[in-house]
């Protein structure tokens, strides 16, 4: 009971907080304004020049505040000095020599300032800063100070007229509010001139090629799986607003090399789960993108098949599956190294994607196994291989006939060989395949599509498979059908790092259905959420990457279907 009561009190305290302790943003306008003071840079200005005033208000002696923008201005001698600039009410212009009493009024409070307008004339104009070079696209704010006949000096930026000798090279503003603001337009040389009272000041300005201003790294803050790669692009943004791909010129770096390393070409290889800042630097300018890696750290590798028995000069597909620290399991065939103990007995080739072929080259000595080591980082495992040299006694193709292959779809034929030692082996990937009528159907004869028959047009063909000097055939009839609908796996919730296979089934107007998973084009819109693990070798197989929702789109025969993938 006591614990419950204490818990309740804790809840009360958390809810109650301690009141607002933020910083105020409001001025105190409750305390009365009691006096104001006019602040001027000088009590004397030359005729035809101008100057600005500032007004500080004192509130009952408690505090002061700049209240220039609340002031109503007046001059007792407008012919000597007057407030004539609408855009700058606090700017007074000297019209003729003499003295004027300037009055500032805020509500019922006012103050005066005695301004003298002299008859001095300007003798020299000096432009500052003495910037003579400017990169294309950049700006510089010039100011001009005048030296007068009475040896006084005065800022004349507002009163002088500004021009550029070549506005195609550099422009200079003569507008109120931006006088003297110069922008470099194109490479070349221009003279910036300012004139007042018959005197001219000049500044030679050379506009140089644009220089790098910033770098953006894309994709911005991507999420990818561990044991994968991410290619980054660096885009340079120059002072003139132009952009260029500078991926190859920048220096790439990863802030956490235990999470991901990055090559000099901008491709990151992810190692462990975490976040690292990928930076691209050039000429002292850098851009970054945070790379988040998900899917756990590799804990174990399993090889399928575990023990392989192959006849010499045949091949077998190998698959490496990773088990990760977060419990996820996925195909990592392309992320491991394959090292046969004897390269004369077997080799492993990885043509790309999640595909590895084991090639049996020579017989293993009797009673021995040849070991293949599979490794990623410090995690490794082995699989064993036995290579025999029996002679072929017969070969069998399955299915023995395809009676109705739909145009636009495919069907895998398999070839099994029977040997003199009583063993048999699927030799589909080690056989020669051909079609007697490629206008009706073609058959793959290389790589992973070896033995896959694709319907081209209505008709018939004979598919031939040749192995060990023997040939078998299977008749295939190709039928044209009208696609009615496409059905794919329903919306799926996936946890990060895990793999799921989506399937696509085509329904035709004659009521037949065909699994078209391998004939379908699969696309995912948000790779930060989920990716297709290998569109070529594992069509329809999706791996979740990071929290979010993505749409998987399947396209086949002009039909499109989508499914939502949610990663909590």
């Amino acid at each position: 009971m006591t614990n419950l009561l204490l818990s309740g009190l804790c809840i009360l305290m958390v809810l109650s907080g301690c009141g607002w302790d933020g910083e105020p943003t409001r001025n105190n306008d409750f305390t009365p304004l009691t006096s104001i003071e006019i602040v001027a840079g000088s009590s004397t200005i030359a005729a035809k020049t101008s100057a600005t005033f500032k007004v500080n208000g004192t509130y009952s002696g408690q505090f002061t505040r700049d209240i220039t923008n609340q002031v109503v201005w007046s001059s007792d001698s407008p012919a000597v000095a007057g407030f004539v600039t609408t855009a700058n009410p606090n700017r007074i212009t000297g019209k003729s020599s003499g003295t004027a009493i300037v009055t500032a009024t805020v509500g019922s409070v006012s103050s005066t300032f005695r301004l003298t307008v002299s008859a001095a004339t300007v003798t020299t104009l000096t432009i500052t800063p003495a910037t003579s070079s400017l990169s294309k696209g950049r700006t510089v704010q010039y100011a001009v100070r005048g030296l007068f006949s009475d040896t006084t000096t005065q800022d004349l930026t507002f009163d002088a007229a500004w021009t550029s000798s070549d506005s195609g090279v550099a422009t200079v503003s003569d507008a109120i509010g931006s006088k003297g603001l110069t922008k470099a337009i194109s490479v070349g040389t221009a003279t910036i001139s300012t004139a007042f009272g018959g005197i001219t000041g000049t500044q030679q300005l050379t506009v140089t090629e644009p220089v790098l201003n910033s770098i953006t790294v894309s994709p911005v803050n991507p999420s990818v799986l561990t044991l994968s790669s991410q290619t980054f692009k660096a885009t340079g943004i120059y002072t003139d607003g132009s952009t260029a791909d500078i991926t190859a010129q920048v220096a790439w770096d990863s802030s956490r090399k235990d999470v991901a390393t990055i090559s000099s070409s901008g491709t990151a290889a992810t190692l462990t789960q975490g976040t690292t800042a990928i930076s691209a630097a050039l000429s002292g300018i850098a851009g970054t993108s945070n790379l988040k890696t998900t899917g756990g750290n590799l804990a174990a590798i399993a090889i399928s098949p575990n023990v392989v028995t192959l006849v010499k000069d045949t091949v077998s597909r190998l698959t490496a599956t990773g088990t990760f620290s977060d419990g996820s399991i996925r195909d990592i065939t392309s992320q491991v190294s394959w090292s046969p103990a004897s390269a004369t007995i077997a080799t492993v080739t990885t043509p790309g994607g999640n595909l590895a072929w084991l090639n049996a080259l020579a017989a293993t000595p009797a009673g021995t196994l040849s070991v293949i080591t599979v490794k990623n980082g410090s995690i490794s495992t082995t699989t064993s291989l036995i290579v025999t040299i029996p002679s072929v006694t017969s070969i069998v193709i399955t299915p023995v006939a395809v009676e109705s292959l739909t145009v636009g779809t495919g069907n895998r034929q398999a070839l099994t060989a029977y040997f003199s030692d009583g063993t048999k082996q699927e030799v589909t990937a080690s056989s020669e395949w051909s079609s007697s009528n490629t206008a009706a159907a073609t058959v793959g004869n290389s790589g992973i599509v070896r033995g896959r028959v694709s319907g081209v047009a209505a008709g018939t063909t004979i598919i031939s498979a040749k192995y060990g000097g023997m040939t078998v055939t299977a008749p295939v009839t190709v039928t044209a059908r009208t696609l009615n609908n496409l059905v794919i796996t329903d919306n799926t919730v996936l946890t990060s790092g895990n793999q799921v296979k989506f399937t696509a089934t085509a329904g035709y107007t004659d009521g037949s259905t065909v699994d078209v998973t391998e004939d379908t084009t699969w696309v995912i819109d948000f790779p930060n959420v989920a990716i297709l693990i290998d569109s070529q070798n594992l069509p329809g197989q999706v791996v979740a990457v990071d929290h979010g929702t993505a749409t998987l789109t399947a396209s086949f025969g002009g039909k499109t279907k989508t499914a939502t993938i949610s990663v909590p």
Partner: protein
């Protein structure tokens, strides 16, 4: 909305844990309380920006009319009550961009709340309770001043809530001494300034109360 849900949960949870006890009062009761409260620093906001209002601790008084649930009530053991409370806190300081300025006047809250408290009877004289309530409060800015200048004199009625805990001490079968704590808050009242603007201010306070309840 989330805050309201928390309040409702805080109110209802204790009722689930209430256990029956012997010789305890059930039926109507009335009570009166006095106490002190600390009004938390409040954020005031108008179209000119935000400012901070700090208050001095104040006194409060309450009157309640309620019903003690009988032992074994399916709603749990405890009480429901209608409570009127007046709280009053002098404005101590107001902080603007320029700094802190002396305040003046008071902020008065007159609240009418419907409360539910779960009471934990264990057969002894002391019975802890916890619960809360919802209702409305009229918050009045009574001649609030900044540096002697009137800032606001206005009032507004807003939604209010409170959470509370404490101890009942059974003096007799019908008379209870109640020592308790309340956290009281409301939605921000909108009050007019002397210049014609309106400002909103927070209203949250910690309250300690002592009172008597008489059952009949």
């Amino acid at each position: 909305m989330k805050q309201i849900c928390r309040i409702i949960i805080a109110i209802c949870l204790p009722l689930l844990f209430c256990a029956p006890a012997n010789a305890q009062h059930s039926g109507p009761f009335v009570g009166a309380f006095i106490g002190g409260n600390s009004l938390l620093n409040a954020k005031g906001s108008d179209d000119q920006g935000d400012f901070r209002l700090s208050f001095k601790p104040g006194f409060q008084g309450s009157a309640v009319l309620g019903w003690d649930f009988e032992p074994g009530n399916p709603l749990g053991e405890g009480r429901a009550e209608l409570e009127y409370t007046r709280r009053s806190n002098p404005l101590d300081q107001v902080k603007f961009v320029e700094g802190s300025f002396t305040g003046g006047g008071t902020v008065v809250s007159d609240s009418l709340m419907l409360n539910f408290f779960g009471v934990f009877h264990d057969g002894g004289r002391w019975a802890p309770y916890i619960g809360g309530g919802v209702g409305a409060t009229r918050i009045e800015a009574s001649s609030l001043k900044v540096d002697g200048q009137t800032m606001s004199s206005d009032s507004a009625i807003v939604f209010a809530y409170q959470l509370g805990a404490g101890f009942d001490v059974a003096l007799t079968d019908y008379l209870n001494l109640d020592l308790g704590y309340r956290f009281f808050g409301s939605t921000s009242p909108k009050l007019s300034e002397v210049g014609g603007r309106s400002f909103k201010m927070d209203y949250f306070s910690h309250n300690v109360i002592l009172g008597l309840r008489v059952g009949f």
